[in-house]
Subunit: 348 residues, 2 copies
């Protein structure tokens, strides 16, 4: 019998950050697709859209008007999923019915006054202002007694449920630590206690040696496809230094984060020459008043496209009931992204 | 301060089957939607489509032809994600890089020769034949030494990645127990050891007393919205008797399963008067040669639609990076489904 080879044979891979597995079926990337195709959105927009509720000076749904902001701007989400004045309490009936009240703050972060831009098309110095605002919000929200975790994220593209193309992200800050970050808290803590180093510090250094899954690098950050990626072109941005949150970044490192964010999203856009949809977000230490030396700052990018601008990966059926599944390997995806030019296709 | 009320206030609910939480934001169901809308597919199809690779007598992509089958028919998936001849082995580099070969069998199950039908439009006696085939496949595949779990599921509708509208489902049978079922194995085992009864037996009886989340019932099965549902109209079908797998069902119970499958999917279709998309599947005991008295047979249904035939719930951003989130409560969703007629809208 031939020897097992994870580039060719179906297998599962372990994600040490979540403690979960993904099924990989490399041979299946050849299957034809006759199912639903996505609308490819023509991405030509004016710099100011009078109907956009995120553009400067425009009125929002709540009735308030945006200021004439010049770089970044944050405000409380008009349809916040978490509210500040939720009465504390819980409901329990035996072991099987348990509910707990949850409170928090939801904010919207405009990345630029220019309605026509996206992160890969912005200047690094302007993305840096987004990073600075993330830091400010993480500090202000995280310092509050009632906030245990500050989740910063960006949904981009209509197929990712984003209802407004104006460059923006969100923050949902909650009293309790969310599900995904509490998985990562547990695994990182166990690793740190065992090794006295962060898991992602060791992981990143192994990847830098192996080189197979590295996409881009600067002095402070690396963009790569994790060994255990689930989405076809799922990536991570990891800080070279083991910092637990955004506030520990130096001035240069903040700019480094802006730089790698731009580089990675340019690769994404260049892959199918389309404004590439994704959900991305920062994972960092909870703000529960404890020290978190085990936490290693990183960003996740989860993009849904699979083989073209219009064919996405469906995480359905087996993926929902059994195990998440991917066809193209992490190594194959990394090669495709890494080989792309670092100049945005629109500037050709 | 007012008292916490899980019908009105943001909160999180615990899922005792997975050990995970869901965030519920009841007040948010009022938010307007300006984002992507789905194509509503006109669902008029011929009884036989010469271009459909699942219709009787037609040729499949692999070159084989389907027999002139009269009720149900199963065959090996031409693009199987799991293969039988995968060489055994693993790859490991420290704690952070782990891959294991995975083998198995993927099959397609045609529910009917009639291309135009869907489960809610089929006769109960014909759905019963689907249940019988599930039993046969579970037995045959499960008896094999190399198969530890048999995952039976149905993806319905193009927005659920289903590429062919012919009524059909799939089976992915693997050597190892998949992620989601291993979570449920663990929690059900702990509960059974503590109480000497299955978790879902106790859960179902509590729900039958509370009545708030029950949708439909017959002598052997109940359809309900679980307290911890994530998707807007997520439901479960649970057997009244604590059976661990399909083979333990009596003749009447098999028909009972067919009956409740039809009733539930009629409610779904009637909700927005559209052929309702979902991923559904059977969760039952692993076929690893052990006895599993802790396992309680059930089906999950995960439908993506939120507020109309064209507006779905996006599980993106916060849901991927933080905690799954829903707006409408399980109780509100149950009331809407339960109040619908049990006659299919097309027969009006
Ligand atoms: O095999 P199919 O129906 O073409 O594929 C569908 O179901 C599979 C199993 O849930 C998924 O992996 C695919 O993404 C989906 O498109
Ligand atoms: O607040 P938005 O951008 O309208 O909403 C979007 O992001 C939210 C947070 O990930 C999701 O819950 C919504 O389903 C999605 O449409």
């Amino acid at each position: 019998m031939e020897k097992f080879d994870y580039i060719e044979n179906p297998h599962r891979r372990y994600n040490p950050l979540t403690g979960e597995w993904v099924l990989v079926s490399p041979h299946r990337s050849k299957r034809p697709w006759q199912g639903q195709v996505e609308k490819v959105v023509e991405d030509v927009r004016p710099s100011h859209d009078p109907n956009c509720y995120l553009c400067p000076r425009n009125e929002r749904i709540g009735g308030e008007s945006n200021p004439d902001y010049k770089d970044v701007y944050s405000f409380q989400n008009d349809f916040s999923a978490l509210l500040q004045d939720t009465p504390k309490g819980e409901y329990a009936d035996g072991e099987l019915f348990k509910a707990e009240s949850e409170s928090g703050v939801c904010k919207v972060i405009c990345f630029s006054p220019d309605h026509s831009l996206t992160v890969p098309e912005m200047e690094v110095e302007n993305i840096r202002k987004v990073v600075d605002l993330w830091c400010k919000e993480y500090k202000e929200l995280g310092d509050r007694e009632d906030i245990g975790y500050v989740q910063i994220f960006e949904n981009k593209g209509p197929i990712m449920g984003c209802s407004n193309p104006h460059p923006h992200g969100q923050i949902w800050a909650s009293g309790l630590v969310p599900l995904e970050t509490s998985k990562e808290s547990k695994t990182q803590k166990a690793y740190f206690e065992k090794h006295g180093k962060t898991m992602l510090f060791d992981y990143l250094n192994s990847e830098l040696e192996k080189k197979e899954r590295i996409l881009a690098e600067n002095d402070s950050f690396v963009a790569l496809i994790p060994f255990w990626a689930v989405w076809p072109f799922e990536t991570m941005i990891i800080s070279k230094r083991a910092v637990s949150n955004l506030l520990e970044l130096s001035d240069e490192e903040r700019t480094g984060l802006a730089d790698i964010y731009k580089k990675l999203t340019i690769m994404y856009d260049n892959l199918f020459e389309v404004s590439f949809a994704y959900s991305a977000g920062v994972h960092q230490a909870p703000t529960d008043g404890e020290k978190h030396p085990e936490w290693h700052l990183h960003m996740h990018f989860f993009p849904p496209l699979l083989r073209s601008a219009s064919v996405k990966k469906f995480m359905v059926g087996y993926e929902m009931l059994g195990t998440p599944q991917r066809d193209i390997t992490a190594e194959g995806a990394a090669k495709r992204l890494r080989d792309l030019p670092l100049k945005h296709y629109k500037q050709k």
